[in-house]
């Protein structure tokens, strides 16, 4: 009988050191680097922390915290994207009075295999997946 790891939850966090610039206005995707807080054997990550691969069916949800060094309005439209995933996009907004965006938008995906957190649309620039960003992966399949 083989050993079955019991941990079912993985946590991926954004950081100030790994955040990426979303770029200027318009479309065009940017992948967000995320750090695994607790390693689990059913989820692997690429060296650049941008691409994840789950060997089990999972529910993936999370959000990006965007920041902007120019104190101007911006938004980031983002999505958990994977070839084997059905997913919904989310959006976070930064307003002129603050350099920080809201945290209240979740992207949700269900599936197996490779996925990444991608900024798929934006107004103005700003940093994508800054500190305060989080993606949680729940393994459904044993």
């Amino acid at each position: 009988m083989s050993y079955v790891p019991s941990r079912c939850i993985a946590e991926l966090n954004g950081s100030a050191s790994d955040r990426v610039l979303a770029g200027s206005n318009g479309a065009g995707s940017v992948k967000g680097p995320l750090n695994i807080l607790n390693n689990v054997p059913w989820l692997t990550v690429s060296a650049n922390k941008e691409d994840f691969d789950s060997s089990k069916e999972t529910v993936v949800f999370g959000w990006s915290h965007g920041t902007n060094s120019t104190s101007s309005d911006f938004y980031h439209l983002y999505k958990i994207v994977g070839s084997g995933h059905t997913s919904f996009a989310a959006q976070t907004n930064g307003e002129a009075a603050r350099n920080y965006s809201k945290l209240d938008e979740d992207s949700l995906a269900i599936g197996t295999g490779a996925f990444s957190m991608q900024c798929v649309g934006k107004y103005s620039g700003g940093y994508f997946v800054d500190a305060g960003s989080k993606v949680i992966v729940i393994r459904l399949e044993f």
């Binding site: 941990r7 079912c8 939850i9 807080l37 607790n38 307003e95 945290l103």
Partner: protein, 153 residues
């Protein structure tokens, strides 16, 4: 019933929500000086509430999310909220909800979220908050809600 449930009589998964019983005026204007008043925890009886402290049972990994909605006299009053262990130590990886910006005087929903594992014993947490200016700022119980999902280790 699973094998673990049969031999240990414990649930393999836990699902709870926690709510406020009434609105709460934020008084603290320094680092997370107010504890959010939690009125009730519903769902699994393995999760307990006492004096605004929620205790998670041993042997699980949990996802905890707390969504906060506020009303404020001025948008210059920004509100920060986070989940924290009840002994005031930090939870690794916890996110802080930030309600800032301009616009109207009611925020959208914001959340603080974390994962907590309890392999060695039960753990307790509370929710703490503060505002950045003296303007009257109230946590609205109708728009504030917490979620706990637990999976047995």
């Amino acid at each position: 019933m699973t094998y673990n449930q049969y031999i240990e009589e414990t649930a393999t998964t836990i699902l709870c929500e926690f709510t406020m019983s009434s609105d709460q005026v934020i008084t603290s204007t320094t680092g997370f000086g107010d504890v959010v008043n939690i009125g009730s925890v519903s769902g699994s009886s393995d999760v307990t509430l006492s004096s605004n402290v929620i205790t998670l049972p041993q042997g699980y990994e949990f996802i905890v999310r707390f969504f906060i909605g506020i009303e404020r006299a001025s948008t210059t009053a920004e509100v920060f909220t986070k989940i924290q262990y009840s002994d005031a130590t930090e939870i690794d990886g916890v996110t802080v909800s930030e309600i800032g910006g301009d616009g109207n005087n009611k925020s959208s929903l914001e959340d603080s979220s974390c994962t907590i594992s309890t392999p060695g014993g039960q753990k307790s947490f509370h929710v703490v908050t503060y505002k950045t200016t003296g303007y009257t700022t109230t946590i609205l119980s109708d728009y504030t809600w917490g979620l706990i999902i637990g999976v047995q280790l």
